[in-house]
Subunit: 193 residues, 2 copies
């Protein structure tokens, strides 16, 4: 497996920094190689091209995150608690890594179709955990059964994602993780007094 080779993860981690600092367009493969401390040619032993690097970055980092979330989804805790952990963990991974947050909220929003399709495929795996938690909550009578589960999933992800993007766009100044309580309130009970 590629990822067992130490240089693979070294290049992935370097790519996050270079893409965050230079934008995806300005991140030549040579820059990523330099940051990783490997020869340009070494990159092509592991990756086909720059798009392949971006997809691999997302896949690797999301893979670890999805594992953590999957564990939470299967804990013997309430649906409310699972949703709380979902929001909190999402915010935490972004807040803990300045560069990762920029790449996730800005640079991964690529418009080219083939790239976008690959990004969506990885995102789908993450969002399927939302479906798992939501379905369980509906079956247990905790959540409303009158709203389409796809809509619930999109609405929750949309809230988390947009608050994260606003945080990145305004310079990562306020505390993102500390929004968890309020967002959790909103998800469960809405705005109405």
């Amino acid at each position: 497996m590629k990822r067992e080779k130490p240089k693979y993860m070294q290049i992935i981690d370097a790519a996050v920094i270079v893409i965050a600092e230079n934008g995806y367009h300005g991140s030549q493969v040579a820059k990523i190689a330099k940051q990783a401390g490997v020869a340009d040619g070494t990159i092509y032993l592991y990756f086909k091209n720059k798009d392949d690097i971006l997809i691999s970055v997302f896949k690797e980092k999301m893979g670890v995150f999805i594992e953590r979330l999957r564990e939470i989804a299967h804990r013997p805790i309430s649906t409310e608690e699972k949703l709380y952990e979902l929001v909190k963990n999402h915010y935490t991974i972004l807040q803990n890594d300045h560069h990762l947050a920029i790449v996730t909220q800005l640079e991964l929003r690529q418009t080219r179709k083939p790239l976008r399709t690959k990004i969506s495929d990885i995102l789908r795996e993450y969002l399927s955990l939302y479906d798992y938690i939501l379905k369980e909550g509906i079956e247990n009578g905790v959540l409303k059964d009158s709203i389409d589960i796809r809509l619930l999933r999109q609405a929750i992800f949309g809230m988390i994602d947009e608050t994260s993007t606003s945080w990145v766009m305004t310079g990562q100044k306020h505390n993102l993780v500390s929004l968890t309580d309020e967002v959790h309130q909103l998800i469960l009970h809405g705005l109405k007094k």
Copy 2:
């Protein structure tokens, strides 16, 4: 004023179609000129470059939309009704124009900083109407006063925006406008039974 010249709006409308069909990257100015039925040189009488066309498209289309929303925000109706109209109008403008929806949900998500800043400035004007409605709702005792208004604004926009993007990404197949009731329910009352 530029926009009083008939060719200006003709180019704007052509750009929406060309960008939706070819992606921003594949939308050469010559293609937009051809679609608009004007000479290439004519474009440069109105626009500095392709980025200027994209920004102008967003500015013009949003300008009309913001006017409609501003009128709704000032109607003598309840906060709940204003929020309903906000969601419904947002979905309606996207659902009524296949090309505009693609440009808004995909092609406007540009990562280059200067472009992004200009797009954000226009978005800020739209979102200030959310703030107006939310503040009024809090003052009238209809909405919770325990949640930061910036967070409320981001959460509502996030729900609307993500449901719209999912609708575009899955091929504009389901009826977006008909999600209004469920989204309005979620915004006001949340997921909890």
